[in-house]
């Protein structure tokens, strides 16, 4: 059993608050991601779980036991640093064996377990090598293996894939999941890459400037973001947010986005917004992949904008529309029959639209809030 409870956790460095009032619970054998931009407090939180930093406020519990008095070398956790921190003066074998040697295990036992882990991490033919001779990708695997060999119940990884090349990143994502399932560990994974978090985590904790924004499954965080920060942080490219007004027109509610055009809300939407107490000024959110393209003279309702940039990225294409002040992005398929400068109508299906309050940034769509706290920084 190795659950982690963070209760009211906070950390300040002199005048700077890195983490504020963080409360969340990680279940046994769960893989969670601490996700957020640089400086959001994710690494500090992880350092506190490891014991490298002491919390200013709050508690940390493993399996319900307060561990704040336990020294970092006795917490039995695995930790992978961003820069790996491989013991470059030792061989690959000795790196892997380190955790066992400091526990004074018998030589034969150490040998057996090192070879086991090396096989799992595909480093078996590198065991005699000086560790400094490994490639970056191999060092990555060594860092993981070195921590995994002590069979810690909890594994902490601090942006382990940020220094490896893109192709290896994709490969390691699958590997990490495989390792986690094989070793049956609770994993806490710090990253700034939302794709990584979506791909690996059972639940994602989104942080911004020391405050927890939302803690939920990838699908929930992606489809039902609590606020504009989460909405824009998840997804590549980010969710489009349009400023506009809600007005009544001919008995129906209409979203008016200034000169760009207007969209009629259906009854369901109108009701939801009314119940949520939406004011006149409102933010409409829609993900780039949910927007459909149509010719400007087509019959459907939508906003018409000129294309100002085209990014073909292989299986998909990202279109940038509008001007740099208020740009919208659309993700569409490989083949795009449009050119830069052409005007295109953007059709936004009602069921894909999300609404946010411009002042607080909170979502106005009811339902499905199993997340952590409130808190916009």
């Amino acid at each position: 059993m190795s659950s982690i409870d963070l209760i009211g956790l906070g950390k300040s460095f002199n005048a700077v608050t890195a983490v504020k009032d963080l409360t969340l619970s990680v279940r046994d054998k769960e893989f969670i991601a601490l996700l957020g931009p640089s400086g959001c407090g994710k690494t500090t939180t992880m350092n506190m779980i490891a014991g490298i930093e002491t919390p200013t406020t709050g508690e940390i519990r493993f399996n319900g036991i307060d561990i704040s008095r336990i020294a970092p070398n006795r917490r039995n956790i695995g930790f992978v640093f961003q820069n790996y921190a491989i013991f470059t003066h030792l061989s690959v074998f000795e790196n892997l064996a380190f955790a066992l040697r400091v526990r004074r295990l018998a030589r034969r036992e150490i040998d057996r377990r090192v070879r086991e882990i090396a096989a799992l991490m595909q480093l078996s033919d590198r065991l005699d090598w000086p560790s400094s001779r490994l490639s970056v990708n191999e060092m990555q695997k060594l860092a993981i293996g070195r921590s995994a060999i002590a069979e810690p119940a909890i594994f902490l990884l601090d942006e382990p894939l940020s220094n490896v090349d893109a192709a290896f990143r994709v490969f390691m994502r699958a590997e990490l999941k495989r390792i986690q399932r094989t070793l049956q560990q609770t994993m806490v994974y710090v990253t700034h890459d939302q794709t990584e978090a979506m791909s690996l985590a059972d639940r994602i904790a989104v942080l911004d400037r020391g405050l927890l924004q939302q803690f939920d499954t990838p699908a929930a965080v992606y489809n039902r973001p609590r606020n504009t920060f989460v909405a824009r942080f998840m997804g590549s490219p980010a969710m489009n947010l349009l400023e506009g007004n809600l007005v009544g027109l001919n008995g129906a509610m209409v979203f008016e986005a200034g000169a760009k055009g207007r969209l009629r809300l259906d009854l369901g939407e109108a009701e939801r917004l009314a119940n949520a107490g939406a004011k006149q000024r409102i933010l409409l959110g829609i993900r780039p992949e949910d927007i459909l393209l149509a010719r400007p003279d087509a019959g459907e309702e939508g906003l018409t904008l000129p294309i100002n940039f085209i990014e073909p990225i292989g299986p998909r294409t990202i279109l940038h529309l509008g001007d740099s002040a208020a740009e919208l992005k659309v993700v569409t398929g490989k083949r795009v029959p449009y050119r830069i400068g052409e005007a295109v109508k953007l059709v936004m299906p009602a069921e894909r639209r999300r609404y946010f309050d411009p002042a607080s940034g909170l979502s106005l769509d009811a339902g499905g809030e199993r997340s952590g706290q409130h808190g916009q920084a």
Binding site: F87, S132, R146
Partner: protein, 327 residues
């Protein structure tokens, strides 16, 4: 983290080929010519300053000349005696004694300096309040002129001096040992003076080495379950092996030249109890004026110390090569 996309092997090969960017752009022949031209004046100067006196010393050492003969050194060939002086070195019992004594004193002193210096360095690795002030305090002894420190310790170790007074105070009984007239205690006193003066140097060098150990690796070791002691023995010490060898090597070679302190405190006494190599040479040179013999001794010492220096360097090189072959 990766510096561009060149592999380590390729980068190492570039460095080994001696190619810098300018050298690459100028071409090999021009680079070599510029190199020779710019270093020529210094090389000539070095030849004059080093080679010339050495040759004179070799010349004199093969004769039996002393200034008492009344002729200049150029005419020393008149008392040519081939390797007599060198043979005498091996038969000189007093020289042998001096050498052994020197080695003993240096061994004890350098070991003490290393242990004390390392202990201090360990204390100073992590920040604590007023660290810079303590730092300056601990470096002060090194700044003192050795002769002055000799006088200092001479006074300290007087039979009515502060050290005896301190011991009397602590034990409650009057303590009036005459340190410098007893063989054992005189040696202790001299070693104490050297340790006081040169521990800071060990401390400096070792501290620099310890600070160079990457913090990340120490943290990683901690999280892998290592206690501070295990971190010391498994991470810090192996990484500063080269630094330790250099520190001990430097200090050892320097200590062999021990003179000022000895001269002032004991002049080699009582008897020859604290007569080190340099004191012995001093007495033969200025007392007995046997310059040819002393020249021979001097040359022999240089050769032996060179061998010691080479041994130190090759130990360091072996450590580095092991790491470079890994890279």
């Amino acid at each position: 983290m990766s510096a561009g996309s060149e592999s380590p092997a390729v980068a190492a090969a570039t460095a080994a080929a001696g190619g810098g960017r300018l050298a690459d752009a100028l071409g090999p022949r021009l680079t070599r010519r510029i190199g020779i031209a710019t270093t020529l004046p210094t090389q000539l100067l070095l030849i004059f300053i080093i080679a010339f006196p050495t040759l004179v010393t070799v010349y004199i050492s093969l004769t039996a000349w002393t200034p008492l003969d009344g002729i200049t050194w150029v005419q020393a060939y008149t008392s040519w005696s081939w390797f007599d002086n060198y043979i005498e070195i091996f038969q000189d019992g007093r020289l042998g004694g001096a050498i052994l004594r020197t080695l003993f004193i240096v061994a004890v002193a350098v070991t003490s300096e290393f242990l004390l210096g390392f202990g201090l360095a360990l204390l100073f690795v992590d920040k604590f309040a007023f660290r810079p002030i303590y730092y300056s305090l601990f470096l002060l002894p090194m700044m003192v002129v050795p002769a002055v420190s000799g006088y200092m310790f001479l006074i300290l170790f007087q039979s009515t001096g502060p050290i005896n007074q301190l011991i009397s105070f602590v034990t409650g009984h009057p303590f009036e040992m005459v340190w410098l007239t007893n063989r054992t205690t005189a040696t202790i006193a001299v070693i104490a003076a050297d340790v006081w003066q040169w521990t800071p140097m060990m401390f400096l060098i070792l501290l620099a080495g310890l600070i160079g150990v990457p913090q990340d690796q120490i943290k990683a070791a901690r999280l892998l379950g290592a206690s501070w002691g295990q971190i010391l023995t498994r991470i810090s010490l192996p990484r500063i092996r080269a630094v330790i060898v250099i520190a001990i090597g430097i200090r050892f070679i320097e200590a062999l030249k021990l003179f000022d302190v000895m001269f002032i405190m004991t002049k080699g006494g009582p008897g020859v109890a604290t007569e080190t190599l340099s004191l012995y040479i001093y007495k033969r040179t200025f007392g007995d004026l046997e310059w040819a013999y002393v020249a021979a001794i001097g040359l022999t010492i240089v050769i032996v110390m060179s061998l010691a220096a080479i041994a130190t360097l090759s130990a360091v090189r072996r450590i580095k090569a092991r790491r470079a072959a890994a890279a």
